[in-house]
Symmetry: C2
Subunit: 254 residues, 2 copies
Protein backbone atom coordinates (compact mmCIF):
# COMPACT_ATOMS: atom_id res chain seq x y z
CA UNK A 1 0.00 0.00 0.00
CA UNK A 2 1.04 3.61 0.20
CA UNK A 3 3.52 5.04 2.67
CA UNK A 4 1.79 7.43 5.03
CA UNK A 5 3.69 9.64 7.41
CA UNK A 6 2.28 9.70 10.97
CA UNK A 7 2.71 13.47 10.84
CA UNK A 8 0.17 13.80 8.01
CA UNK A 9 -2.77 15.84 9.35
CA UNK A 10 -5.19 13.18 8.16
CA UNK A 11 -3.05 10.18 9.12
CA UNK A 12 -5.81 8.16 10.80
CA UNK A 13 -8.16 8.62 7.89
CA UNK A 14 -5.46 7.54 5.42
CA UNK A 15 -4.64 4.45 7.48
CA UNK A 16 -8.29 3.39 7.41
CA UNK A 17 -8.41 4.04 3.67
CA UNK A 18 -5.48 1.71 3.12
CA UNK A 19 -7.04 -0.90 5.38
CA UNK A 20 -10.19 -0.82 3.25
CA UNK A 21 -8.30 -1.01 -0.05
CA UNK A 22 -6.30 -3.97 1.23
CA UNK A 23 -9.46 -5.75 2.40
CA UNK A 24 -11.01 -5.22 -1.01
CA UNK A 25 -7.98 -6.78 -2.67
CA UNK A 26 -8.28 -9.75 -0.31
CA UNK A 27 -11.88 -10.28 -1.42
CA UNK A 28 -13.49 -9.35 1.89
CA UNK A 29 -15.31 -6.36 0.45
CA UNK A 30 -17.44 -5.63 -2.60
CA UNK A 31 -16.28 -2.77 -4.85
CA UNK A 32 -19.16 -0.59 -3.71
CA UNK A 33 -17.82 -0.96 -0.16
CA UNK A 34 -14.85 1.22 -1.09
CA UNK A 35 -17.18 3.85 -2.52
CA UNK A 36 -19.29 3.67 0.64
CA UNK A 37 -16.14 4.18 2.69
CA UNK A 38 -15.38 7.29 0.66
CA UNK A 39 -18.83 8.67 1.43
CA UNK A 40 -18.11 8.05 5.09
CA UNK A 41 -14.78 9.87 4.80
CA UNK A 42 -16.53 12.93 3.42
CA UNK A 43 -19.18 13.01 6.12
CA UNK A 44 -16.57 12.44 8.81
CA UNK A 45 -14.61 15.34 7.38
CA UNK A 46 -17.59 17.68 7.65
CA UNK A 47 -18.19 16.48 11.22
CA UNK A 48 -14.65 17.60 12.01
CA UNK A 49 -13.47 13.98 12.38
CA UNK A 50 -14.53 13.96 16.02
CA UNK A 51 -17.33 12.59 18.16
CA UNK A 52 -19.79 15.42 18.61
CA UNK A 53 -22.06 15.85 21.66
CA UNK A 54 -25.20 14.43 19.99
CA UNK A 55 -23.22 11.29 19.09
CA UNK A 56 -22.05 10.96 22.68
CA UNK A 57 -25.67 11.26 23.81
CA UNK A 58 -26.82 8.59 21.34
CA UNK A 59 -24.01 6.28 22.45
CA UNK A 60 -25.19 6.41 26.07
CA UNK A 61 -28.79 5.68 25.04
CA UNK A 62 -27.64 2.87 22.75
CA UNK A 63 -25.72 1.21 25.54
CA UNK A 64 -28.64 1.55 27.96
CA UNK A 65 -30.89 -0.09 25.33
CA UNK A 66 -28.46 -2.93 24.74
CA UNK A 67 -28.20 -3.56 28.49
CA UNK A 68 -32.00 -3.64 28.78
CA UNK A 69 -32.45 -5.92 25.77
CA UNK A 70 -33.67 -9.47 26.07
CA UNK A 71 -32.08 -10.56 22.82
CA UNK A 72 -29.45 -8.06 21.73
CA UNK A 73 -27.75 -8.70 18.40
CA UNK A 74 -24.79 -6.95 16.77
CA UNK A 75 -25.12 -7.19 12.99
CA UNK A 76 -21.85 -7.02 11.08
CA UNK A 77 -21.25 -6.28 7.41
CA UNK A 78 -17.97 -6.27 5.49
CA UNK A 79 -16.97 -2.68 6.21
CA UNK A 80 -17.73 -3.06 9.91
CA UNK A 81 -15.67 -6.25 10.12
CA UNK A 82 -12.70 -4.69 8.35
CA UNK A 83 -12.76 -1.46 10.32
CA UNK A 84 -13.71 -2.65 13.78
CA UNK A 85 -13.86 -6.44 14.27
CA UNK A 86 -12.06 -6.31 17.63
CA UNK A 87 -14.32 -3.58 19.00
CA UNK A 88 -17.45 -5.44 17.90
CA UNK A 89 -16.25 -8.63 19.56
CA UNK A 90 -15.23 -6.81 22.75
CA UNK A 91 -18.54 -4.97 22.92
CA UNK A 92 -20.50 -8.18 22.36
CA UNK A 93 -18.65 -9.85 25.22
CA UNK A 94 -19.73 -7.06 27.57
CA UNK A 95 -23.45 -7.28 26.74
CA UNK A 96 -25.26 -10.11 28.51
CA UNK A 97 -26.64 -12.57 25.94
CA UNK A 98 -25.47 -10.63 22.89
CA UNK A 99 -24.91 -12.45 19.60
CA UNK A 100 -22.91 -11.36 16.57
CA UNK A 101 -24.48 -11.99 13.15
CA UNK A 102 -22.98 -11.56 9.69
CA UNK A 103 -25.22 -9.71 7.25
CA UNK A 104 -23.81 -8.71 3.89
CA UNK A 105 -25.53 -6.53 1.33
CA UNK A 106 -23.71 -8.11 -1.60
CA UNK A 107 -23.56 -11.56 -0.10
CA UNK A 108 -21.35 -14.20 -1.69
CA UNK A 109 -20.27 -17.44 0.03
CA UNK A 110 -16.63 -16.37 -0.31
CA UNK A 111 -17.17 -12.99 1.36
CA UNK A 112 -19.24 -14.49 4.18
CA UNK A 113 -16.40 -16.90 4.93
CA UNK A 114 -13.84 -14.08 4.86
CA UNK A 115 -15.88 -11.91 7.22
CA UNK A 116 -16.38 -14.89 9.53
CA UNK A 117 -12.61 -15.40 9.53
CA UNK A 118 -11.98 -11.72 10.34
CA UNK A 119 -14.43 -11.89 13.24
CA UNK A 120 -13.05 -15.16 14.59
CA UNK A 121 -9.50 -13.86 14.34
CA UNK A 122 -10.69 -10.97 16.50
CA UNK A 123 -11.89 -13.44 19.11
CA UNK A 124 -15.55 -13.95 18.16
CA UNK A 125 -17.23 -17.23 19.06
CA UNK A 126 -20.65 -18.52 18.04
CA UNK A 127 -20.96 -16.13 15.09
CA UNK A 128 -24.36 -16.35 13.40
CA UNK A 129 -25.20 -15.80 9.72
CA UNK A 130 -22.54 -18.19 8.48
CA UNK A 131 -22.88 -19.59 5.01
CA UNK A 132 -24.27 -22.94 6.14
CA UNK A 133 -26.61 -21.42 8.73
CA UNK A 134 -30.36 -21.64 8.52
CA UNK A 135 -32.13 -18.35 8.20
CA UNK A 136 -35.59 -16.85 8.09
CA UNK A 137 -36.74 -14.08 5.76
CA UNK A 138 -37.44 -10.62 7.17
CA UNK A 139 -40.82 -9.24 6.12
CA UNK A 140 -40.56 -6.36 3.66
CA UNK A 141 -37.18 -7.29 2.23
CA UNK A 142 -35.99 -9.40 -0.66
CA UNK A 143 -32.80 -11.26 -1.51
CA UNK A 144 -29.77 -11.62 0.76
CA UNK A 145 -30.74 -8.52 2.74
CA UNK A 146 -33.79 -10.39 3.91
CA UNK A 147 -31.73 -13.06 5.68
CA UNK A 148 -32.02 -13.17 9.44
CA UNK A 149 -30.79 -15.91 11.73
CA UNK A 150 -33.58 -17.45 13.87
CA UNK A 151 -31.49 -17.04 17.03
CA UNK A 152 -30.09 -13.70 15.93
CA UNK A 153 -31.63 -10.74 14.12
CA UNK A 154 -34.91 -12.56 13.56
CA UNK A 155 -35.78 -12.83 17.25
CA UNK A 156 -33.81 -9.81 18.44
CA UNK A 157 -35.54 -6.99 20.30
CA UNK A 158 -32.54 -4.64 20.03
CA UNK A 159 -30.15 -4.71 17.07
CA UNK A 160 -27.00 -2.73 16.48
CA UNK A 161 -26.64 -2.33 12.71
CA UNK A 162 -23.61 -0.15 11.94
CA UNK A 163 -23.35 1.14 8.35
CA UNK A 164 -26.71 -0.39 7.47
CA UNK A 165 -28.64 0.10 4.25
CA UNK A 166 -31.85 2.15 4.47
CA UNK A 167 -34.29 -0.54 3.35
CA UNK A 168 -33.05 -3.00 5.91
CA UNK A 169 -33.00 -0.48 8.75
CA UNK A 170 -36.57 0.50 7.89
CA UNK A 171 -37.74 -3.11 7.70
CA UNK A 172 -36.21 -3.90 11.09
CA UNK A 173 -37.96 -0.92 12.68
CA UNK A 174 -41.25 -1.93 11.03
CA UNK A 175 -40.87 -5.36 12.66
CA UNK A 176 -40.90 -3.62 16.05
CA UNK A 177 -37.22 -3.92 16.81
CA UNK A 178 -35.22 -1.17 18.45
CA UNK A 179 -32.64 -0.34 15.79
CA UNK A 180 -29.35 1.29 16.76
CA UNK A 181 -27.18 2.46 13.90
CA UNK A 182 -23.79 4.07 13.55
CA UNK A 183 -23.87 6.16 10.38
CA UNK A 184 -21.78 9.18 9.41
CA UNK A 185 -24.49 10.62 7.18
CA UNK A 186 -27.15 12.29 9.34
CA UNK A 187 -29.37 12.67 6.28
CA UNK A 188 -29.37 9.01 5.26
CA UNK A 189 -32.53 6.98 5.40
CA UNK A 190 -30.85 4.67 7.89
CA UNK A 191 -30.03 7.64 10.12
CA UNK A 192 -33.59 8.93 9.97
CA UNK A 193 -35.44 5.64 10.30
CA UNK A 194 -33.42 4.06 13.09
CA UNK A 195 -34.52 4.25 16.72
CA UNK A 196 -31.12 5.45 17.94
CA UNK A 197 -28.71 7.03 15.48
CA UNK A 198 -25.08 7.51 16.38
CA UNK A 199 -23.70 9.94 13.80
CA UNK A 200 -20.05 9.14 14.21
CA UNK A 201 -17.19 7.15 12.78
CA UNK A 202 -17.43 3.50 13.75
CA UNK A 203 -13.80 3.44 14.82
CA UNK A 204 -14.41 6.23 17.32
CA UNK A 205 -17.93 5.26 18.42
CA UNK A 206 -17.32 1.61 19.29
CA UNK A 207 -14.51 2.23 21.80
CA UNK A 208 -16.69 4.90 23.42
CA UNK A 209 -19.56 2.39 23.56
CA UNK A 210 -17.28 -0.05 25.37
CA UNK A 211 -16.34 2.66 27.90
CA UNK A 212 -19.99 3.62 28.41
CA UNK A 213 -20.89 -0.03 28.83
CA UNK A 214 -18.55 -0.20 31.80
CA UNK A 215 -20.11 2.98 33.27
CA UNK A 216 -23.74 2.04 32.74
CA UNK A 217 -23.43 -1.51 34.01
CA UNK A 218 -23.66 0.02 37.47
CA UNK A 219 -27.07 1.57 36.77
CA UNK A 220 -30.34 0.05 37.90
CA UNK A 221 -32.91 -1.10 35.38
CA UNK A 222 -35.02 1.93 36.26
CA UNK A 223 -32.13 4.31 35.62
CA UNK A 224 -31.41 2.70 32.27
CA UNK A 225 -35.10 2.89 31.31
CA UNK A 226 -35.13 6.59 32.17
CA UNK A 227 -32.15 7.22 29.86
CA UNK A 228 -33.88 5.40 27.01
CA UNK A 229 -37.32 6.94 27.52
CA UNK A 230 -36.06 10.50 27.66
CA UNK A 231 -34.26 10.22 24.33
CA UNK A 232 -35.69 11.82 21.17
CA UNK A 233 -33.77 10.60 18.12
CA UNK A 234 -35.19 13.21 15.71
CA UNK A 235 -34.25 16.01 18.07
CA UNK A 236 -30.79 14.57 18.60
CA UNK A 237 -30.28 14.25 14.83
CA UNK A 238 -31.35 17.86 14.35
CA UNK A 239 -28.59 18.87 16.77
CA UNK A 240 -26.06 17.14 14.55
CA UNK A 241 -27.41 18.99 11.53
CA UNK A 242 -27.03 22.26 13.44
CA UNK A 243 -23.40 21.44 14.14
CA UNK A 244 -22.70 20.70 10.48
CA UNK A 245 -24.58 23.80 9.41
CA UNK A 246 -22.48 25.95 11.74
CA UNK A 247 -19.35 24.20 10.55
CA UNK A 248 -20.01 25.27 6.97
CA UNK A 249 -21.16 28.70 8.02
CA UNK A 250 -18.18 29.88 9.99
CA UNK A 251 -15.68 27.75 8.16
CA UNK A 252 -12.36 28.74 9.66
CA UNK A 253 -10.54 26.74 7.07
CA UNK A 254 -11.50 29.04 4.22
Amino acid sequence: MHDISPTHPRYHSLILRDKMAKAYQEGILADTALIAHGRGEAFDYILGEKTNPPAKKAIIVAIASLLLAENPVLSVNGNTAVLAAEDIVNLAKLIPGARVEINLFYRTPQRVLKVQEVLENAGATGVLGKESDHYLPLEGLEGPRSRAHPEGVHQADVVLVPLEDGDRAEALVALGKKVITIDLNPLSRTAKKSSITIVDNLVRALPLMITEMKNLKRCSRGELEKIVNEFDNDYNLSKTLDIISQHFKRDERL
Copy 2:
Protein backbone atom coordinates in the same frame (compact mmCIF):
# COMPACT_ATOMS: atom_id res chain seq x y z
CA MET B 1 -22.61 -5.14 -12.25
CA HIS B 2 -25.80 -4.50 -10.35
CA ASP B 3 -29.21 -4.01 -11.91
CA ILE B 4 -30.42 -0.49 -11.32
CA SER B 5 -33.96 0.58 -12.06
CA PRO B 6 -34.22 3.93 -13.93
CA THR B 7 -37.00 4.81 -11.48
CA HIS B 8 -34.59 4.69 -8.52
CA PRO B 9 -34.43 8.21 -7.04
CA ARG B 10 -30.64 8.15 -7.20
CA TYR B 11 -30.38 6.37 -10.56
CA HIS B 12 -27.74 8.67 -12.10
CA SER B 13 -25.52 8.42 -9.06
CA LEU B 14 -25.79 4.62 -9.04
CA ILE B 15 -24.94 4.41 -12.75
CA LEU B 16 -21.77 6.45 -12.17
CA ARG B 17 -20.91 4.24 -9.22
CA ASP B 18 -21.10 1.15 -11.40
CA LYS B 19 -19.06 2.84 -14.12
CA MET B 20 -16.31 3.54 -11.60
CA ALA B 21 -16.35 0.02 -10.14
CA LYS B 22 -16.13 -1.44 -13.65
CA ALA B 23 -13.22 0.86 -14.56
CA TYR B 24 -11.43 -0.22 -11.41
CA GLN B 25 -11.83 -3.86 -12.36
CA GLU B 26 -10.45 -3.06 -15.81
CA GLY B 27 -7.33 -1.60 -14.20
CA ILE B 28 -7.96 2.00 -15.25
CA LEU B 29 -8.29 3.23 -11.69
CA ALA B 30 -6.34 2.85 -8.46
CA ASP B 31 -8.27 1.52 -5.45
CA THR B 32 -8.20 4.91 -3.78
CA ALA B 33 -10.02 6.28 -6.82
CA LEU B 34 -13.15 4.40 -5.76
CA ILE B 35 -12.88 5.87 -2.26
CA ALA B 36 -12.41 9.34 -3.77
CA HIS B 37 -15.52 8.78 -5.85
CA GLY B 38 -17.43 7.94 -2.69
CA ARG B 39 -16.31 11.21 -1.12
CA GLY B 40 -17.61 12.96 -4.21
CA GLU B 41 -20.94 11.17 -3.93
CA ALA B 42 -21.35 12.41 -0.37
CA PHE B 43 -20.54 16.01 -1.23
CA ASP B 44 -22.80 15.89 -4.27
CA TYR B 45 -25.55 14.59 -2.04
CA ILE B 46 -25.23 17.53 0.34
CA LEU B 47 -25.19 19.92 -2.63
CA GLY B 48 -28.58 18.48 -3.61
CA GLU B 49 -27.08 16.73 -6.65
CA LYS B 50 -27.55 19.86 -8.73
CA THR B 51 -25.47 22.71 -10.14
CA ASN B 52 -25.87 25.59 -7.71
CA PRO B 53 -25.66 29.29 -8.68
CA PRO B 54 -22.05 29.78 -7.45
CA ALA B 55 -20.98 26.82 -9.61
CA LYS B 56 -22.72 28.36 -12.64
CA LYS B 57 -20.89 31.60 -11.95
CA ALA B 58 -17.52 29.84 -11.69
CA ILE B 59 -18.22 27.95 -14.92
CA ILE B 60 -18.70 31.21 -16.85
CA VAL B 61 -15.48 32.66 -15.42
CA ALA B 62 -13.60 29.43 -16.16
CA ILE B 63 -14.69 29.48 -19.79
CA ALA B 64 -13.77 33.16 -20.18
CA SER B 65 -10.32 32.35 -18.76
CA LEU B 66 -9.85 29.39 -21.07
CA LEU B 67 -10.82 31.54 -24.07
CA LEU B 68 -8.34 34.22 -23.03
CA ALA B 69 -5.52 31.74 -22.42
CA GLU B 70 -2.43 31.57 -24.57
CA ASN B 71 -1.68 27.97 -23.67
CA PRO B 72 -4.75 26.33 -22.17
CA VAL B 73 -4.36 22.76 -20.95
CA LEU B 74 -6.97 20.29 -19.71
CA SER B 75 -5.35 17.90 -17.25
CA VAL B 76 -7.00 14.50 -16.98
CA ASN B 77 -6.67 11.88 -14.25
CA GLY B 78 -8.24 8.42 -14.07
CA ASN B 79 -11.54 9.42 -12.48
CA THR B 80 -12.02 12.27 -14.95
CA ALA B 81 -11.33 9.99 -17.91
CA VAL B 82 -13.76 7.34 -16.70
CA LEU B 83 -16.52 9.77 -15.83
CA ALA B 84 -16.24 12.33 -18.61
CA ALA B 85 -13.77 11.52 -21.39
CA GLU B 86 -16.17 12.62 -24.16
CA ASP B 87 -16.93 15.93 -22.47
CA ILE B 88 -13.25 16.66 -21.93
CA VAL B 89 -12.47 15.92 -25.57
CA ASN B 90 -15.41 17.99 -26.82
CA LEU B 91 -14.49 20.89 -24.57
CA ALA B 92 -10.85 20.78 -25.70
CA LYS B 93 -11.93 20.90 -29.33
CA LEU B 94 -13.84 24.13 -28.68
CA ILE B 95 -10.93 25.97 -27.00
CA PRO B 96 -8.42 27.42 -29.47
CA GLY B 97 -5.00 25.81 -28.92
CA ALA B 98 -6.08 23.62 -26.02
CA ARG B 99 -4.15 20.45 -25.21
CA VAL B 100 -5.21 17.45 -23.17
CA GLU B 101 -2.62 15.99 -20.78
CA ILE B 102 -2.74 12.82 -18.69
CA ASN B 103 -1.68 13.28 -15.07
CA LEU B 104 -2.19 10.41 -12.66
CA PHE B 105 -1.65 10.57 -8.93
CA TYR B 106 -0.82 6.87 -8.66
CA ARG B 107 0.90 6.62 -12.00
CA THR B 108 1.70 3.20 -13.44
CA PRO B 109 2.57 2.58 -17.11
CA GLN B 110 -0.47 0.30 -17.41
CA ARG B 111 -2.90 2.88 -16.08
CA VAL B 112 -1.46 5.66 -18.25
CA LEU B 113 -2.00 3.47 -21.30
CA LYS B 114 -5.55 2.66 -20.26
CA VAL B 115 -6.43 6.32 -19.69
CA GLN B 116 -4.88 7.22 -23.04
CA GLU B 117 -7.05 4.54 -24.64
CA VAL B 118 -10.18 5.88 -22.94
CA LEU B 119 -9.40 9.41 -24.17
CA GLU B 120 -8.59 8.31 -27.70
CA ASN B 121 -11.73 6.20 -27.88
CA ALA B 122 -13.58 9.40 -26.99
CA GLY B 123 -11.98 11.14 -29.96
CA ALA B 124 -8.90 12.76 -28.44
CA THR B 125 -5.89 13.38 -30.66
CA GLY B 126 -2.42 14.56 -29.66
CA VAL B 127 -2.83 13.58 -26.03
CA LEU B 128 0.15 14.63 -23.88
CA GLY B 129 1.54 12.92 -20.79
CA LYS B 130 1.79 9.52 -22.46
CA GLU B 131 4.09 6.93 -20.99
CA SER B 132 6.90 7.52 -23.51
CA ASP B 133 6.58 11.32 -23.41
CA HIS B 134 9.31 13.60 -22.15
CA TYR B 135 8.38 15.66 -19.14
CA LEU B 136 9.72 18.35 -16.89
CA PRO B 137 9.40 18.49 -13.12
CA LEU B 138 7.10 21.03 -11.50
CA GLU B 139 8.77 23.02 -8.77
CA GLY B 140 7.50 22.19 -5.28
CA LEU B 141 6.33 18.67 -6.10
CA GLU B 142 7.91 15.24 -5.99
CA GLY B 143 7.33 11.94 -7.75
CA PRO B 144 4.78 11.31 -10.51
CA ARG B 145 2.70 14.31 -9.45
CA SER B 146 5.58 16.51 -10.42
CA ARG B 147 5.42 15.43 -14.09
CA ALA B 148 4.43 18.11 -16.55
CA HIS B 149 4.69 17.93 -20.31
CA PRO B 150 6.86 20.72 -21.80
CA GLU B 151 4.14 21.58 -24.35
CA GLY B 152 1.35 21.01 -21.86
CA VAL B 153 0.99 21.80 -18.16
CA HIS B 154 4.59 22.99 -17.88
CA GLN B 155 4.13 25.95 -20.22
CA ALA B 156 0.38 26.44 -19.67
CA ASP B 157 -0.94 29.77 -18.44
CA VAL B 158 -4.42 28.38 -17.72
CA VAL B 159 -4.99 24.78 -16.60
CA LEU B 160 -8.22 22.95 -15.96
CA VAL B 161 -7.48 20.31 -13.31
CA PRO B 162 -10.70 18.52 -12.37
CA LEU B 163 -10.56 16.37 -9.22
CA GLU B 164 -7.00 17.49 -8.51
CA ASP B 165 -4.98 16.77 -5.39
CA GLY B 166 -4.27 19.72 -3.08
CA ASP B 167 -0.49 19.69 -3.29
CA ARG B 168 -0.51 19.79 -7.06
CA ALA B 169 -3.17 22.50 -7.28
CA GLU B 170 -1.17 24.59 -4.84
CA ALA B 171 2.10 24.07 -6.73
CA LEU B 172 0.48 25.06 -10.03
CA VAL B 173 -0.87 28.27 -8.50
CA ALA B 174 2.54 29.01 -6.96
CA LEU B 175 4.04 28.73 -10.45
CA GLY B 176 1.79 31.59 -11.55
CA LYS B 177 -0.72 29.55 -13.50
CA LYS B 178 -4.43 30.23 -13.43
CA VAL B 179 -5.83 27.02 -12.00
CA ILE B 180 -9.42 26.02 -12.66
CA THR B 181 -10.71 23.06 -10.72
CA ILE B 182 -13.94 21.10 -10.55
CA ASP B 183 -14.25 19.70 -7.04
CA LEU B 184 -17.33 18.68 -5.08
CA ASN B 185 -15.75 19.46 -1.73
CA PRO B 186 -15.81 23.23 -1.15
CA LEU B 187 -13.56 22.78 1.89
CA SER B 188 -10.79 20.86 0.13
CA ARG B 189 -7.36 22.39 -0.24
CA THR B 190 -7.76 22.18 -4.01
CA ALA B 191 -11.04 24.12 -3.80
CA LYS B 192 -9.46 26.81 -1.63
CA LYS B 193 -6.15 27.17 -3.41
CA SER B 194 -7.37 27.18 -7.00
CA SER B 195 -7.97 30.39 -8.92
CA ILE B 196 -11.43 29.36 -10.07
CA THR B 197 -13.28 26.64 -8.19
CA ILE B 198 -16.32 24.99 -9.70
CA VAL B 199 -18.01 23.14 -6.83
CA ASP B 200 -20.05 20.73 -8.88
CA ASN B 201 -20.15 17.21 -10.21
CA LEU B 202 -17.88 16.81 -13.22
CA VAL B 203 -20.60 15.11 -15.21
CA ARG B 204 -22.89 18.12 -14.81
CA ALA B 205 -20.26 20.87 -14.98
CA LEU B 206 -18.51 19.84 -18.19
CA PRO B 207 -21.63 19.85 -20.41
CA LEU B 208 -22.49 23.28 -18.96
CA MET B 209 -18.96 24.45 -19.77
CA ILE B 210 -19.44 23.33 -23.36
CA THR B 211 -22.70 25.30 -23.55
CA GLU B 212 -21.08 28.39 -22.03
CA MET B 213 -18.18 28.06 -24.43
CA LYS B 214 -20.60 28.44 -27.30
CA ASN B 215 -22.16 31.52 -25.64
CA LEU B 216 -18.94 33.27 -24.68
CA LYS B 217 -17.21 32.72 -28.00
CA ARG B 218 -19.20 35.71 -29.23
CA CYS B 219 -17.74 38.03 -26.55
CA SER B 220 -14.93 40.45 -27.21
CA ARG B 221 -11.61 40.07 -25.43
CA GLY B 222 -12.53 43.09 -23.29
CA GLU B 223 -15.83 41.53 -22.25
CA LEU B 224 -14.12 38.27 -21.32
CA GLU B 225 -11.49 40.14 -19.30
CA LYS B 226 -14.23 41.97 -17.41
CA ILE B 227 -15.86 38.65 -16.47
CA VAL B 228 -12.55 37.27 -15.21
CA ASN B 229 -11.45 40.40 -13.34
CA GLU B 230 -14.72 40.84 -11.48
CA PHE B 231 -14.62 37.33 -10.06
CA ASP B 232 -13.71 36.67 -6.43
CA ASN B 233 -13.16 32.96 -5.85
CA ASP B 234 -13.18 33.12 -2.04
CA TYR B 235 -16.45 35.02 -2.05
CA ASN B 236 -17.96 32.59 -4.55
CA LEU B 237 -16.85 29.63 -2.42
CA SER B 238 -18.40 31.21 0.68
CA LYS B 239 -21.72 31.34 -1.22
CA THR B 240 -21.51 27.59 -1.74
CA LEU B 241 -20.84 27.08 1.95
CA ASP B 242 -23.92 29.18 2.74
CA ILE B 243 -26.02 26.96 0.50
CA ILE B 244 -24.77 23.81 2.20
CA SER B 245 -25.22 25.36 5.61
CA GLN B 246 -28.84 26.23 4.79
CA HIS B 247 -29.36 22.78 3.37
CA PHE B 248 -28.44 21.18 6.70
CA LYS B 249 -30.31 23.79 8.68
CA ARG B 250 -33.73 23.51 7.15
CA ASP B 251 -33.40 19.91 6.15
CA GLU B 252 -36.78 19.02 4.75
CA ARG B 253 -35.78 15.41 4.52
CA LEU B 254 -35.71 14.93 8.28
